[in-house]
Amino acid sequence: MAYLEFKGVGITAMAAAVPKRVIKNREYTEFWSAEEANAIVEKTGIEERRFADEATCSSDLCLAAAEQLFADNDINKEEIELLVFISQTPDYRMPATSVTLQHRLGLPNNTIAFDINLGCSAFLYGMSVVFSMMEKSNLKKALILDGETRSKVYSPRDRRSAFLFGDGGVAALVERDEKFGKSTFSLNSDGSRANLIMIPAGGYRHMSSAETVVEKVVDEFGNMRSDEQGYMMGGDVFNFVIREIPRDIKKTLAFAEKTADDFDYVVFHQANNFINSYIAKKMKLDTSKIPSTIAKYGNTSSVSVPLTIVSELKNKLDGKKDLLLSAFGVGMTWATAIVPFCDCKISNVVEVENGVRI
């Protein structure tokens, strides 16, 4: 069983940024009828999303979140010795975006900086990596930056993904303190399902060419996309999620000798309301403990768990709160985490336009 446990490490402050541009799904009718759009909104629960403009990258959203975090907390930048950037929409294929962010944030050159590319479960994976490095070292402070611009990934003419995804970025400060107690992570992968969610072209298996940018009809419903755009086989993803996620949560709770009732909040990856409601119902969870941002931000991939914490749990994490986190998606990868929060300082969600905080 691949469980990881850490002691005395936790997130002490969080901030988030979203693009200023709001996409209202019921009015997202350039390629779809209002009737189709309304039906999708009813099913997915996604009313609005945020779309980054051309000048805004995941890194810019994270930079804005980090600047807000620095502004709201008394942080000596010299003490940040580890920076991990989580994204599947980086600025460049190289260098790693984390390194450009080290410079843009004015962090010292002895900062350890690297990227994690994983998808929807990546914030939990990233937390485990950072908690591990913090627990086993004298590093003073670490910064997790997690940003996605999924609006740039999916075709607006593929109905199966056009209404789901949005953009956002978060910053989380990680520090050592005995008050945090123990955290537990279960991390999983199944590469046999790599084809369920994929952008086939643009890497080195299918390099970009004149052919890969051509938009094609891809199914009997007339959906269109190019190989440079992402696709999702929603049915198989759903089948996978309803089988594996309840199982992983139950196993992790059993390992940690806890029950779902022990937690103050349960934060799920915001896939869509249909999937999330079904999991909550199947697991008989208390929905009053499950914060949701799916209606206003849509599916922001790896950003959705921390963005939901910042957006919905500000002023609710005073004292010690136990959170159960669950995230799943592209890979497939999936993760469950039991994480204590102690007096976590949460900033207001800020907005970004033309790459800068407004």
């Binding site: 999708i40 419903f221 929603g234 049915g235 089948n239 309803i242 249909f274 199947k282």
Partner: protein
């Protein structure tokens, strides 16, 4: 297996009248059939029959009777 119960559940998942369906209905030809209807059927099969059908297999099923047979073979 209770065939009428299955038809009722199938109709409920697609938000249509059960009287519009028979075991011979080719569900993909229904105007209500789309990728979201498919998700509703997946949820219904999991909830009511504790069964998951991968897309590659599901694609081979044409009628409600095909799904009923699949459930009976895999329960």
């Amino acid at each position: 297996m209770d065939t009428q119960k299955f038809i009722d559940l199938f109709a409920e998942a697609l938000d249509i009248e059960a009287s519009d369906l028979t075991v011979e209905t080719e569900f993909r030809t229904l105007p209500e059939w789309d990728s979201m209807a498919y998700l509703s059927i997946i949820a219904m099969l999991d909830e009511e029959y504790e069964i998951q059908i991968e897309n590659a297999e599901f694609k081979t099923l044409k009628t409600l009777n095909d799904i009923i047979n699949y459930i009976e073979e895999h329960q």
